[in-house]
C-alpha cells in the first residue's frame, strides 16, 4: 500500500487500521495529532523547509517507525514531537491539548511527564550512577524518594539492568547503556516513547537486543515513535511513516 497523499493521511491510516482488522494491536484513542505542521530553518539567506505541512495522527499503542533519507526531516519531526523544538506553522495536539504555545517551563513539564526519550548516543550523564540516571526525570517531577526508588527499580528490572544500578555509565557497554536509557525513558510512565535511531550507535547484536526490548514494551502497551535507518527495524514497527524533503511520502500500516 502506497500513499503519497498528505492530506488524506489521517483518514487513510484509520482506514488501514480498520481494514487490517487490528487483531492484535489495540489502537486506542488519538495521542498525537499534527495538522499542517511546518518547520522552516532560516540561516543566512537560506530557508530550509525541514518539515512541510505535515499531517500525522498517532494513536495509543502504535509503534511508528519514521524513515527517510538523511536530511529528510526525521530528527526535526522527533524534536517537535518531543517539544524540544518549536514549529513555524501548524497545530500539535498531545493527548488532546495544544502544546505549541506553551511556555518553556510548561514544555519542560510536559516533556518530563508525558514523553520518554531514547537517544542515539544514549546520553546517560557520566557523573551519575545508573540508578541516578534513571531517577533523574522523576527527581525533576518532585516525586518522593521512596516512590522514585520503587519506580527506578521496576524500570531497571524491566530492561534487565537491576544488577548494575550502582555502576557508572562508563563501566557499561553500549548496549547496556542504551538499556539503561530505555529504563530512564519508561520510568516515568510517559504517554509516548520517542527514540532517535536507538540502535544507530550499536553493533547488530546489541541493536537486536534493544529492538527486542522495545517490542516487549510495545506488547505491554507502550506507544513508540522511532526514527530509524534500518529497514529491518522499521518492519518490526506497526506502521512506517516515510519522509522525503520534509513531507510524508508514505504511511504504511501493518497487521
Amino acid at each position: 500500500m502506497m500513499t503519497t497523499n498528505n492530506n488524506a493521511e489521517t483518514p487513510a491510516s484509520e482506514d488501514a487500521a480498520v481494514l487490517a482488522g487490528a487483531a492484535k494491536v489495540e489502537t486506542g484513542k488519538s495521542l498525537i495529532t499534527l495538522e499542517g505542521l511546518t518547520k522552516v530553518f532560516e540561516t543566512e539567506e537560506v530557508e530550509t523547509h525541514a518539515l512541510s505541512n505535515i499531517h500525522l495522527n498517532i494513536r495509543q499503542g502504535e509503534w511508528v517507525a519514521i524513515v527517510g533519507p538523511s536530511g529528510s526531516g526525521k530528527s526535526t519531526l522527533l524534536a517537535v514531537l518531543g517539544l524540544l523544538d518549536t514549529t513555524t506553522r501548524g497545530t500539535y495536539l498531545l493527548d488532546g491539548k495544544s502544546v505549541l504555545d506553551l511556555s518553556a517551563s510548561d514544555r519542560a513539564l510536559v516533556r518530563n511527564r508525558h514523553i520518554g526519550f531514547i537517544f542515539q548516543s544514549f546520553n546517560l550523564i557520566g557523573d551519575l550512577t545508573v540508578f541516578e540516571n534513571v531517577e533523574l526525570p522523576l527527581t525533576y517531577r518532585g516525586m518522593p524518594a521512596a516512590e522514585r526508588k520503587q519506580r527506578v527499580e521496576k524500570a531497571l528490572d524491566k530492561v534487565g539492568m537491576a544488577h548494575r544500578a550502582r555502576h557508572m555509565p562508563g563501566q557499561l557497554s553500549g548496549g547496556q547503556q542504551q538499556r539503561v536509557a530505555v529504563a530512564r525513558a519508561v520510568a516515568g510512565d510517559p504517554l509516548i516513547l520517542l527514540a532517535d535511531e536507538p540502535t544507530g550507535n550499536l553493533d547488530s547484536k546489541n541493536g537486536e537486543a534493544v529492538m527486542q526490548l522495545l517490542s516487549e514494551l510495545h506488547k505491554a502497551g507502550a506507544t513508540i515513535c522511532m526514527v530509524t535507518h534500518d529497514p529491518a527495524h522499521a518492519r518490526v514497527a506497526t506502521r512506517t511513516v516515510s519522509l522525503f524533503d520534509g513531507r510524508v511520502v508514505q504511511d504504511e500500516q501493518r497487521r
Binding site: 513539564l109 526519550f117 548516543s121 550523564i125
Partner: protein, 806 residues
C-alpha cells in the same frame, strides 16, 4: 640558551594569538606584583635599609618610668641626665636633646623651623660626622656661647643650595643671631623632621637640683661594644635603685625604673608590625593573583591538548613541553612585572603621600635598586610558581585518545579538580584578607566613635612660639597672651578662644608636684601627672564638660590664689573619696605656689584616641604664662578655616615677627592622629577588595568553563524535563560548594592568623564574631553572584542538543 630564546619567541607569538587571555593574566600579575613592590619599597625604606648611623644596633633610648603609677616612657630632667652620665658603665657615650621650634626671620616672612637642642655628644653618639664644618663642643653647652648651628643636609640643600660657603653664615632665630658651623650627611634627621641643631644650654634653674622633676630631655646612648641590651638594662636598674636612695622624695615608692630600648624600635617600632602585616597581606593578594593566572593557564592547556599531542607526536619530550609552557608563564610574568613596576612607582609615592607624617623615615622610602630587584625576583618566582603546575598538567598527553578524529579538548578530572582547588584557595585567601580588613575597619570605626571628651568640630588651631629675646619676662608673655585672646575673641564669627601649652592628642608633659598634707610614704604614689597650662576659655572652647566646681577664670591671674582644674581620673586616683575640690597641690617649679583644685572636668584623650585618659591637671596660663602657645578658636558657625586669615592678621598686628604656624582644624588633627590606622584599614580594604574581585573572577571562570564543558549534559537534563530552575540550582550548587570549601578553609586560616593582629586592633577582638560572620556572608554572596552568570548561561542551553550526535 638558544632553545630558551626560541621558546620565548614561540611563547610571545602564542600569547599574541590570544590577546584576551594575555591581557587578563598580565593585568592580574601586574596588580599583584605592583602592590607587592610598592609595599616592599616602604618596608625596605623604613625597616630594612640601615639607618645612616654607625653600628645602629648599639644605639638605645633611655626612658624613665614610674611603674607603680603606670606612667611609662617619660622624658628626663637635666639633673637626671647628669646622673645617667656619672653612673652607668654600660655606655660608651650618652646624649640628651630637646626638639623645639624657632622662628626664622630676615626672609620675606617669618618662618617656623624645627630646631633640636642637643648636647655636643649627640653626633658622636649617633656615629655621624658632619660633611662640612664641625659639630658642637662641650663649651657651647653654656648660655651665651650656644648660638651656633649645625644644619641637616636637607636644610642645606633646600635653603642654601648646598653652598659650601654656608659655614659662618648668620641666621636670625627667635630674635637671636646664630652662626652656622656644620652640615650633617644626608638622611640624618634625628629626631624626625629636625631642620637644624643648636647646643643644649640649660638655664641655671633647669640645671639645678630643684628641677629634678622638670623633665623635657630625651636621652640616647651608644652601648659599649659587645654589651647586650640586657646588660645595659641591668646597669640602669642598679642606677634606678641608687637614685631612689639618693633622692627619696622624687622616686621612693613609685617604682622608679629606667628602661633601655633599642633606638631602632623607638623609631620604627610603632609601624613595624603594621608594615610587615601589610607586606604579608599584599603577599596574599599575589597568591590569589597567581592562582587566577594558573587557572587561566590550566583552561588554556586543556584547549591546547591537540597542539600538545601534535608536538609530542613530532617527538617533543615531556621536558621540552614543560619548558615551552614555562616560557609562556615567564613571558607573562615579565610583562606583569614590568607593568607592576610602573604601578609600584606610582603606588609607593601614593602610599607615602597618604601616610604623610605617620610614617617614620618616609624620606628613605623610594623605588630603588633593591625594590627593582625585588620586583624582578618576584616576577620570576611567580612565573614559575603559577606556571609549573599547568605546564606539568598540559604536558601529560594521551596520544591515542587525543589524536582520534573529532575529539574535542575535554578537561580531565584531574585538571578540573586542580582548577577547583585553586579557586577554593583563592576564596580562602580572600576571606583571610577580608577578615583582616574587617577587623581594621571595625577598629578604625571604634576609634572614630571614641568618647574623646571634647568636640573637635568647629575649632581652628594654630601655634605660636614667643622667642625668649623679646618675651623674656612672664609679664610680657602674659600680656601677649591676653591681648591675643582679646583680639581673636573680638573677631566676628568667633564664639570663643583659648590657649594651652599642648592640645589634646598632642602628647605628654609630665610634671611632678606635691599634694598638701601628704608626706611621701613608701608605697604611695603621686609623682607626676599630665600638666596643661590653659587660659580661662580653653576648656570651654573645646566644649569639655565640667563635672564639679568651676572652670578656670580670667580672675585666676598672677595676683590671685593659684587655681587648677583636674580631670576625673586625676580626682579618682588621688582623692578616691570624692573630696578633691579645695585640695591643694604644688608644681615642682621654682616660682610655683600652692594651687587649689577648683574644678573637675571630663576626661580628655590627651595622648591619642586609642590611649585611655591619664590623670591630667589644667593650671591657669595666667599664673604660669606660656612661651609655646597652642591657640584654639571655635567658630560660631561654618568652617573653622574661614577664620584663618582674620586670626593671622591679628597676630601680625600684634607682632610682625611672629608667625602663626601649623594652622589647622581640630578635626584635621583628630584625623591625622589616626592616619596610620586609616591607612591600614584602607590598604587592607584595597587588598581584600582586589582578592575578592580575583576570587569572584576565578569562581566565575571555573564554573563557566565547567558549564561550557557540560553543555550537552545540560541539554540532556532539559530534554528529560529539567526546568530552568533545576539547571540553575545544579550550577549554583557547584559554585556554593567551592565557595563553602573556600570560606571554611579561610575561616580556619583567619582564626590562626587573627592572633597576629590582636595588638594592632582597637575596640574589637581579633576573633570578633560579627566580622567573621559578616565577611563569610559577603564572600558567599559574591561567590553566588559570580556563579549566577554561568548558571544563567546554562539555563539557556537548547535541549535539542541532546538529539545531536556527540
Amino acid at each position: 640558551m638558544e632553545t630558551f630564546l626560541q621558546n620565548v619567541r614561540y611563547a610571545v607569538r602564542s600569547l599574541r594569538k590570544s590577546p584576551g587571555f594575555t591581557l587578563m593574566a598580565v593585568l592580574a600579575l601586574a596588580l599583584g606584583i605592583g602592590a607587592n613592590s610598592a609595599v616592599f619599597s616602604v618596608v625596605n625604606g623604613v625597616l630594612l635599609k640601615p639607618p645612616p648611623f654607625a653600628q645602629p644596633e648599639r644605639l638605645v633610648h633611655l626612658w624613665g618610668n614610674y611603674a607603680k603609677a603606670n606612667i611609662k616612657d617619660i622624658v628626663v630632667s637635666v639633673p637626671e641626665y647628669r646622673d645617667y652620665l656619672t653612673m652607668p658603665r654600660a655606655f660608651s657615650s650618652l646624649a640628651a636633646f630637646d626638639a623645639s621650634n624657632v622662628t626664622l626671620t630676615g626672609g620675606d616672612a617669618p618662618e617656623r623651623l624645627q630646631m633640636t637642642l642637643s648636647t655636643a655628644s649627640l653626633f658622636p653618639t649617633l656615629g655621624v660626622a658632619p660633611v662640612l664644618g664641625r659639630g658642637f663642643t662641650e663649651e657651647e653647652e653654656t648660655l651665651g656661647r650656644d648660638k651656633v648651628l649645625v644644619l641637616t643636609h636637607k636644610t642645606w640643600r633646600t635653603r642654601f643650595a648646598q653652598d659650601p660657603g654656608v659655614l659662618g653664615r648668620e641666621l636670625r632665630l627667635d630674635g637671636d643671631t646664630y652662626t652656622v658651623v656644620g652640615v650633617l650627611p644626608p638622611g640624618v634627621e634625628y629626631p624626625a623632621d629636625t631642620d637644624l641643631y643648636a647646643p643644649l644650654a640649660p638655664t641655671q634653674e633647669r640645671a639645678s637640683a630643684v628641677s629634678r622633676g622638670y623633665r623635657f630631655l630625651s636621652v640616647v646612648g651608644r652601648l659599649k661594644p659587645g654589651l647586650t641590651l640586657e646588660a645595659a638594662q641591668a646597669d640602669m636598674d642598679r642606677l634606678g635603685r641608687e637614685m631612689e636612695t639618693l633622692y627619696e622624695e622624687y622616686y621612693k615608692g613609685y617604682g622608679w625604673t629606667i628602661s633601655v630600648k633599642s633606638l631602632e624600635d623607638e623609631v620604627v617600632g610603632r609601624v613595624r608590625g603594621t608594615l610587615w602585616l601589610l607586606l604579608g597581606a599584599v603577599g596574599f593578594v599575589l597568591l590569589v593573583a597567581c592562582s587566577s593566572v594558573a587557572n587561566l593557564l590550566l583552561a588554556r592547556a586543556t584547549a591546547r591538548q591537540r597542539e600538545v599531542s601534535i608536538r609530542a607526536a613530532l617527538g617533543a619530550g615531556r621536558g621540552q613541553l614543560v619548558a615551552q609552557f614555562l616560557a609562556e608563564s615567564l613571558v607573562l610574568a615579565a610583562a606583569g612585572g614590568g607593568l607592576g613596576l610602573l604601578l609600584a612607582i606610582w603606588g609607593t609615592d601614593a602610599l607615602v603621600a597618604m601616610v604623610g607624617d605617620g610614617l617614620p623615615r618616609a624620606a628613605a622610602v623610594g623605588l630603588d635598586v633593591s625594590s627593582v630587584l625585588f620586583t624582578a625576583g618576584l616576577s620570576v618566582l611567580t612565573g614559575i610558581g603559577f606556571g609549573l603546575v599547568p605546564a606539568l598538567q598540559a604536558s601529560r598527553v594521551d596520544l591515542s585518545s587525543t589524536m582520534r578524529e573529532g575529539s574535542r579538548g575535554t578537561e580531565g578530572g584531574k585538571a578540573g579538580r586542580l582548577r577547583a582547588g585553586l579557586v577554593v584557595g583563592q576564596v580562602a585567601f580572600a576571606l583571610v584578607l577580608l577578615v583582616g580588613a574587617g577587623l581594621f575597619l571595625r577598629s578604625f570605626q571604634a576609634l572614630t566613635h571614641v568618647e574623646a571628651g571634647f568636640v573637635p568640630e568647629g575649632v581652628l588651631t594654630g601655634r605660636l612660639a614667643l622667642p625668649a629675646t623679646s618675651y623674656a619676662k612672664p609679664e610680657d608673655q602674659r600680656a601677649f597672651q591676653q591681648e591675643l585672646l582679646r583680639r581673636v575673641q573680638a573677631l566676628p564669627g568667633v564664639e570663643s578662644a583659648g590657649v594651652t601649652n599642648l592640645l589634646p592628642l598632642g602628647g605628654k608633659t609630665n610634671i611632678s608636684f606635691d599634694v598638701e598634707g601628704r608626706t611621701r610614704a613608701a608605697g604611695e604614689m603621686w609623682p607626676a601627672v599630665e600638666s596643661r597650662f590653659a587660659s580661662a576659655d580653653y576648656l570651654r572652647t573645646l566644649k569639655v564638660r565640667l563635672r564639679d566646681g568651676r572652670m578656670l577664670q580670667e580672675t585666676d591671674g598672677p595676683d590671685a590664689a593659684w587655681a587648677v582644674v583636674i580631670n576625673q581620673t586625676f580626682a579618682d586616683l588621688y582623692w578616691p573619696k570624692g573630696d578633691a575640690l579645695g585640695q591643694r597641690v604644688k608644681l615642682h617649679q621654682s616660682d610655683a605656689q600652692w594651687t587649689t583644685v577648683v574644678g573637675i572636668v571630663d576626661d580628655l584623650r590627651e595622648w591619642g584616641l586609642d590611649t585611655p585618659a591619664r590623670p591630667t591637671a589644667y593650671y591657669s596660663a595666667l599664673q604660669v604664662p606660656l612661651t609655646h602657645i597652642y591657640l584654639a578658636v571655635r567658630v560660631k558657625a561654618g568652617e573653622p578655616e574661614s577664620l584663618r586669615t582674620a586670626i593671622e592678621s591679628e597676630v601680625r598686628a600684634l607682632d610682625g615677627n611672629l608667625p602663626l604656624f601649623k594652622v589647622t582644624s581640630m578635626v584635621r588633627l583628630v584625623d591625622e592622629s589616626i592616619v596610620s590606622r586609616r591607612l591600614t584599614a584602607l590598604l587592607m580594604g584595597l587588598f581584600a577588595g582586589t582578592a575578592l574581585l580575583l576570587a569572584a573572577l576565578g569562581i566565575s571562570g571555573v564554573i563557566g568553563y565547567s558549564v561550557a564543558q557540560r553543555t550537552r549534559e545540560m541539554g540532556i537534563r532539559m530534554a528529560l524535563g529539567a526546568a530552568k530552575s533545576d539547571v540553575l540550582v545544579l550550577v549554583l550548587r557547584q559554585g556554593v560548594k567551592l565557595a563553602a570549601l573556600g570560606v571554611g578553609l579561610g575561616l580556619v586560616l583567619s582564626l590562626v592568623l587573627a592572633r597576629l593582629l590582636s595588638t594592632m586592633l582597637y575596640g574589637v577582638t581579633a576573633y570578633d564574631p560579627w566580622t567573621f560572620a559578616g565577611v563569610a556572608a559577603l564572600l558567599s554572596a559574591v561567590a553566588l553572584g559570580a556563579t549566577w552568570l554561568p548558571a544563567h548561561r546554562a539555563t539557556r542551553v537548547d535541549p535539542i542538543i541532546a538529539l545531536k550526535a556527540e
